[in-house]
Each structure stands twice: as structure tokens, then as C-alpha cells.
Amino acid sequence: MKLLTHNMLTSSVIKGVTKGFPLKIVASKVEVREVDYNEPFIIKTLSKVDWPALHQAANEVGYGEDLPIELGEDFQKDETLLRKIHNALLQVDIIEGELVCPESGRKFPISNGIPNMLLSEHEVSS
């Protein structure tokens, strides 16, 4: 699971949970897989990414120390930064671990790179 995927995931469908975002990552195995750098893609994607959630997630898995807490206005011109963001968003891959709902504490296992987000009938708000 890449952090861009994580940035879209939420546990808000759990009964009683309002936002369920961002899901805390507890990773036991993380890999970095090379992905071609595509600057326009990163810039475009950043408009949809929740930055604080990405920042937090990258730090949780140990790839966030070079990322600023807030994204400055001129980030589009800073290729060094964009490459770091590229790494965090697309190259870091959580293989094993779990996602934890920030409100209910419900854990979702990540196994073989796949988060299992299934909930049982009684956990879901209808």
C-alpha cells in the first residue's frame, strides 16, 4: 500500500465514527520500490492529497523527516522537495502492518501490501 492510497482511505463507515481519517499506520514491513518520477503528476496529485495526513503517515513509517509540516507556496519549483514527495507518495510501500481508526481504535490488517478494510455487519452504520 502506497501512501497515496493511504491518503484516500478512511474508516468513516464504522458506526459512530465521523471522520475516520487519517488512519494511523503501524508498519512492520516497509519497502521502497522505484517508480518513474513524473513531476506534472506529482503536482497535480498534490492538489488532491491531504498534506497533514501524508506528513503524518510518512513520519509513521520513517520516510517523513525531510517533508515540511506545511507545503509552502513555491513547492512547485522545488524539484528536490517534489522528488521527496514522489518518494513518500509513490515509492514507499507498506507490506505488513495495520491501519488503526483514529476514533474507534478498530484495526485493519495490512498483509502482503493489501489493507483489508472489510467490516462486519454490526460494525457498519447503515
Partner: protein
């Protein structure tokens, strides 16, 4: 199954003597290099160019019918083997040595080694060895347990254990046979004999010996604790020697009540519990513990024991893990026989194919669990080995065209992505696939796509985050109107304003516009490759064989709408008939034979339904409250909107364990009934219009499917 790896040993089939190394070193080097490439790219194994303690043994896996014991006996000749890790369905395994020297000796001595598998030379395999950096971790016990399962530790004293074991002298029992296949364990019955030929007991023929009094005391304690709601009247004693196991099975649903209890005596073991959605939990059954299976763990999860000589167990202080050898284990399994067989419950009705159209959300969920998810899981489990790439060969052209038209950098979710055939078509967008089946999600992941396991009626995605949602052939599996509505609402919820979704559902009208769809059409053409379906998509899709014909038809049908891009894409995606027939061989999934279907069509034009009930010729959109779900006759016109579509799975049994599992499950596993709600013309748009903020932009009919592009306002 013909697979890639088999082809490596084709030239070694000239029946050399056991152990012969059949290659010149140059040829062997070439083979190993090719193998290394495949194993690292397709299986993600970390091959090492330097010698390590661990060897990957290609062609020495469970998928080749090679056992852990066989490998152990071969490789012990080279050094101290510390572990042999076998992986279900894979054609490779891992042998770890205590030192690099042992592994190196094995590498040089056994590369290209012919392993004889008895008298039939076609079963022989040639082993190829590569050093790997690490083997997958051996199976550890799970802390999680299936719902309804209890393990009560130290349930009997050592004294009672001894007494119980002395009650049954297993030496005088004969190994039983199931369908001519010798089982690997010994059994004895009390109360009623469990007959493996019918998977049931004969209720009119109780055995002279009832459950022994000592057991009664133990059962009373379980009853008083409230873990079982009845006193069992049937006992089966099984004895397993180290290295023996039992294939995964669910105890016959209509023979025994809920609440099955089993004592483990003499040795611990590890029991495998598998949910149809792919979840797999390992539960340690310590010596002298009582296992209780109720509810979901008894009815939905299968249980079995993998034949091993040791188990990974928690250390006595429960801090770490340790390897514990298995000893002879005797299990006492107690069950309560259902004596009044006329009382049918919903589950039994389901087994008999007499399920009703669901009325509530939970009924709907239950039906889909059994007749959608379980089916895709079974199909996928059989289809898994080495077929994932072959599966993803047949995207519908108009869906591919839709994807290729998307601007760069779009965020897209394919909900109900199946094996991921629409993932990766447009390389400039970011896609996440989701599927309810974790097996299907794994196929997508192994092909390098972002995937999560999720339910389309409860998408785990942020509101408004996506540019596009793809939902192909998913909503027709939702069994109530409310659940179908919920699915569309979820799709709209996760889309941004102005975001679009493409939705395909199977159409009731298979001859719309006077053109019979492929689904109806192909029944009359006896091309076996046209009966091939992938593990997700069952219906209405254009078959990939005879692509010229297909393109021509589509071109005519779609007229000007079909632009050059589509044709290019279409040409690019063509698959040769040879590929397809080999895929068919690999999958062994076929529709019911065309000949049989044609007979049904010819003799009974109104369709055939189960138990002699004729289907109604017309039904309303709203389900009738008392309506029974009928089984559809493949390749005929739909008579009703809600139905079960039969799937035949010709599972070639790779080993006797599997056939035993089939025998234990009454051999029903080869035919699956999958639920479908087919949509009438206009129904999909009407459904979408009920969702606030959902605007239908385009609608069309494509090869037996109703399709819409909707936009979120």
C-alpha cells in the same frame, strides 16, 4: 495443469534414472537464469547470487504434488536441513540448511535432479535450485479466532487423557477408504457411524456402543459452561500420526446441529480455519484442550489440518514462538445428530437450491456471502497458480476506451476490480482496485497494482476524493434493491463534484436491438474456448476468441461511436486462440457443457428450474415476497431478474487429499450457484436517479449489459 515451470522439464522426459542430472552445465545455467528472472519478477522472491543457507526448490512444491517428506529425504543427503517450507498451490518450496555449506552442496548436487514420483513417469519432476535471501516465515499461530470458536485449554487431566486413550485401541482399526482413496488417519465411531460415502449418519441404525460414560462427564462440563446447547450423541475418534492431516472441510450442515466439540489428546496440533473471503487463521489446539465450533466457525469457515511433523507454538511463558514436534494425536469429536430430517432451516434450503429472494439487508448480505463471495473465492482458489497474467486478457473495449480517455493524473478507483483486468490500461492515471475477495485482491497486487479488500456497499474511501470510479459487473450481484442503491450512493459519495463513474450491469434483455448477445449466441457455437470465463466475470462479456469476428461485430454495432483508438486498443488486446485454450486448460473452469444446454433449450423452451418448478415467464421489477430463487439455464434468455447462475468447476484433483475433501463435503464443490439480479432496460438509470447528486450523462447497451456514465453534481 500445464504451466510455465513444466515446460522447463519437458526435455527431461526421456525417462532418465532417478537422480540423473540431465543437463550440461551451460544448459543448466541458462535454465537457472530464466527461472531466476521469472521467480523474482512474478513471485517476488529475493534470489541471491551468493550462496545462502536457504534454497528455493522449483518443481518441488505442493503444486507439483511433491511432499515435505520427499524433499527432506532428498536434501538431508547434503547436510542438516533445519526447515522445509511448503506453500499451498505453489510449484516451489524452500529448504533451509543449518549452514551455507550444506545448502551449497545441495545446490551443486541436486540442480537438474530428477525426482521419481512412482511408476507413472508423467508425474516425475526435475528440481531446479536457487539460493534465496529469505524464505517466507513458517506459519505462526494467529491470535485472532473465527467468530464462535473457543479453545478451552487443559480441559481434561492427564489421568483422564490416559483413560480416554485406553477406551479406544486404534491398533485394531483399519485405515478407511473414501471413494477408493486411502485416508491417512484411523477412525472409530460411537453412537452412530459416520459414513464417508454419504457424508452422513444413518439415523435409523445406531451403533451398539453409545458415547462412553467417561466422555459423558466431560461433555456435561462443556454443557454446564454453556459452550454447547445440547448433549452430543455421536463420537468419532480420529488418530493422526505425525505428518498426517485432514483436508479443509465443513462438517455436513444438515447432519449435525450447531456446536461441534473436539478433544485433542496425545499431542498438540495446528488447525487451519479458512473463510470463503480468503481469511486464513491458524489455531493451536494444545494437548488436552477442547475445541468448540459454533455459529460462523462451524458453518462458514472450513477447518483442516495441514500434514506437518511439527507446529510453531507459543513458548510456555507465551512470550515467544518455538517449534514443537507433533506426536500421535487422537481427537475425540462429539456431534449432535439431527434426528428429525424434515425440519429444514434456511441453510438447508440453500443447500437444496431453494433460497428465497432476500427481503432485508442482512438476508441480502447472507445470500451474497454464500452465492457471490464464496463462489468467487472457490473459482479463484482453483484458478490461482500461474494464471493471474493469463486471466487479465479480455477487457471490454468500451471500458478500455473510457479509461484511455481520462486525463493524466486522475485518481481512479475500480470497485469490485476482480482480477484487475481494467487496472493498468491507462498508465497515466493512479488507480486503486478494491474487491471483496482477498484472493482476487492478491492477484491484482501480484500484478503490481494498488489494491484493498473492501465492500462496495461500504467503501473505505474519503468523500469526494476520486475523479473517476469504475464499477463493472458488480451491482448485479447485490441481492436487494436497497443494497444496489447503497452501492451507487457509495460510488457517488467518494466522487468529487464533477467526477464520473462508469457502471456496467448484466441486462435482462440479451437480444436487445434484435442482436442476440454473445452470451446467448455462443451456446450454439461449440467452441470450447468461448466457454472460458475468467474468475470474476461470468457473463455477457465479449469472448476473446475469433477476434476478427468480434471486432467486426462491435464495429457494426457501435457504428460511428467506435473510434480508431478503440480499434487500436482492441487490436492490442487480442489474444490468440492458442493462449486461450491453454488458459482454459489451466483454469478448468467451464460453463456447463454446451451440448447439455442445447438439449435443454431444444426440449424446453421455457427454461428449466430446479425441482421441477417451472419459472414464471414474466416477473415484476419488485421482488415478490414469497419468490424462490431459481437456477438459470446457461445460454438461454432470462426468465426472471433474480436468479442463481450455475457455474461448473471441473477441478482436477491434484492429490488425494483434495478428492477426499470433496468426498467429505458431499462433492457439491464442483457446481457453484452465483446470484445475479439482471437489470431491465431503464432500471439502472432509474436506480442512479434515486441517488441525490447523481446525474446520468450517457447510457448504452454493450454486449448484453446496460451501462451508464454518471456524474456527481
Amino acid at each position: 495443469m500445464k504451466t510455465e515451470s513444466d515446460t522447463w522439464c519437458v526435455d527431461n522426459m526421456a525417462a532418465p534414472k532417478e537422480g540423473t542430472v540431465t543437463h550440461s552445465s551451460k544448459k543448466l545455467d541458462m535454465k537457472l537464469r530464466k527461472l531466476e528472472k521469472i521467480l523474482s519478477s512474478k513471485e517476488h522472491l529475493e534470489i541471491s547470487s551468493q550462496p545462502t543457507q536457504i534454497l528455493c526448490i522449483q518443481n518441488g512444491g505442493l503444486g507439483n504434488n511433491v511432499s515435505q517428506l520427499e524433499l527432506l529425504s532428498v536434501f538431508s543427503a547434503s547436510g542438516d536441513v533445519s526447515d522445509v517450507v511448503m506453500i499451498p498451490q505453489k510449484q516451489y518450496s524452500f529448504v533451509s540448511f543449518t549452514d551455507v555449506a550444506g545448502a551449497s552442496r545441495a545446490f551443486h548436487h541436486f540442480n537438474g535432479h530428477l525426482l521419481r514420483k512412482g511408476n507413472d513417469p508423467s508425474q516425475d519432476v526435475v528440481l531446479y535450485l536457487l539460493f534465496v535471501k529469505r524464505a517466507p516465515s513458517p506459519l505462526k499461530p494467529s491470535s485472532e479466532r473465527p467468530p464462535g470458536l473457543h479453545v478451552l485449554e487443559d480441559f481434561v487431566t492427564e489421568e483422564d487423557e490416559e483413560k480416554l486413550l485406553s477406551l479406544v485401541n486404534m491398533d485394531d482399526t483399519e485405515e478407511i477408504k473414501v471413494g477408493g482413496v486411502m485416508k491417512h488417519r484411523q477412525v472409530k465411531h460411537f453412537g452412530f457411524e459416520f459414513r464417508y460415502d454419504i457424508n452422513d449418519v444413518d439415523v435409523n441404525n445406531p451403533l451398539p456402543d453409545g458415547i462412553p460414560p467417561l466422555c459423558q462427564n466431560i461433555l456435561h462440563r462443556a454443557y454446564n459452561l454453556g459452550v454447547i446447547g445440547h448433549m452430543p450423541d455421536q463420537l468419532t475418534v480420529n488418530q493422526y500420526k505425525p505428518g498426517q492431516g485432514i483436508p479443509p472441510h465443513v462438517d455436513t450442515v444438515d447432519a449435525f446441529e450447531d456446536g461441534i466439540v473436539s478433544l485433542s489428546l496425545g499431542s498438540q496440533t495446528m488447525m487451519d480455519f479458512r473463510h470463503p473471503d480468503g481469511r486464513h487463521l491458524l489455531v493451536t489446539l494444545p494437548r488436552r484442550s477442547l475445541l468448540v465450533m459454533t455459529g460462523e466457525s462451524r458453518y462458514i469457515w472450513s477447518h483442516g489440518i495441514t500434514p506437518r511433523k511439527s507446529d510453531i507454538v507459543l513458548t510456555p511463558d507465551r512470550d515467544g514462538l518455538t517449534l514443537q514436534n507433533r506426536d500421535v494425536r487422537t481427537s475425540f469429536t462429539f456431534r449432535k445428530v439431527i434426528l428429525n430430517r424434515k425440519q429444514t432451516n434456511a441453510r438447508q434450503k440453500a443447500d437444496a437450491g431453494l433460497k428465497s429472494v432476500p427481503q432485508s439487508d442482512s438476508e441480502g448480505r447472507e445470500l451474497e456471502q454464500q452465492h457471490v463471495h464464496q463462489v468467487s473465492c472457490s473459482l479463484c482458489m482453483t484458478a490461482l497458480p500461474n494464471t493471474s497474467a493469463a486471466l487479465a486478457t479480455k477487457p471490454w473495449p468500451r471500458v478500455a476506451e473510457f479509461l484511455l480517455d481520462l486525463p493524466d493524473g486522475f485518481l481512479v478507483a475500480d470497485v469490485g476490480c476482480g482480477n484487475g483486468k481494467y487496472l493498468g490500461i491507462n498508465k497515466k492515471i493512479f488507480e486503486i482496485g478494491s474487491d471483496y475477495s482477498s484472493n482476487l485482491a492478491s492477484i491484482c497486487r501480484s500484478r503490481g497494482f494498488e489494491t484493498c479488500v473492501a465492500d462496495v456497499t461500504n467503501l473505505p474511501l474519503r468523500c469526494g476524493v476520486l475523479d473517476v470510479v469504475l464499477c463493472i459487473a458488480v451491482i448485479h450481484h447485490m441481492s436487494t434493491q436497497a443494497r444496489r442503491l447503497r452501492a451507487v450512493s457509495e460510488i457517488i459519495r467518494v466522487l468529487r463534484s464533477g467526477g464520473k463513474a462508469l457502471i456496467y450491469v448484466w441486462a435482462m434483455e440479451q437480444d436487445y436491438d434484435k442482436t442476440p448477445s454473445k452470451y446467448i449466441n455462443t451456446g450454439r457455437q461449440k467452441k470450447p474456448e468461448q466457454m472460458l470465463k475468467d474468475s470474476r466475470e461470468t457473463v455477457g462479456e465479449p469472448t476473446s476468441s475469433g477476434t476478427k469476428l468480434q471486432s467486426a461485430e462491435l464495429g457494426r454495432k457501435d457504428g460511428l461511436e467506435m473510434n480508431q483508438l478503440t480499434q487500436k486498443q482492441n487490436a492490442h488486446l487480442r489474444v490468440s486462440p492458442a493462449d486461450i485454450s491453454s488458459t482454459a486448460q489451466q483454469l478448468n473452469i467451464r460453463r456447463k457443457p454446451a451440448e447439455v444446454l442445447e438439449m435443454s433449450v431444444a426440449s424446453n423452451d421455457t427454461g428449466v428450474s430446479v425441482h421441477g418448478v417451472h419459472s414464471q415467464s414474466e416477473t415484476s421489477v419488485l421482488p415478490d415476497t414469497s419468490k424462490t430463487l431459481h437456477v438459470h439455464v446457461n445460454r438461454t434468455q432470462f426468465k426472471e431478474q433474480d436468479m442463481l447462475v450455475p457455474w461448473q468447476l471441473q477441478c482436477k484433483m491434484a492429490n488425494e487429499d483434495k478428492s477426499e475433501a470433496c468426498a467429505e463435503n458431499g462433492d457439491k464443490s464442483s457446481v457453484f450457484h452465483r446470484f445475479y439480479h439482471v437489470f431491465r432496460q431503464g432500471e439502472l438509470e432509474a436506480l442512479c436517479k434515486k441517488v441525490p447528486g447523481c446525474e446520468v450523462r450517457t447510457r448504452y447497451y454493450d454486449q448484453g449489459n446496460w451501462c451508464v456514465v454518471v456524474e456527481k453534481l
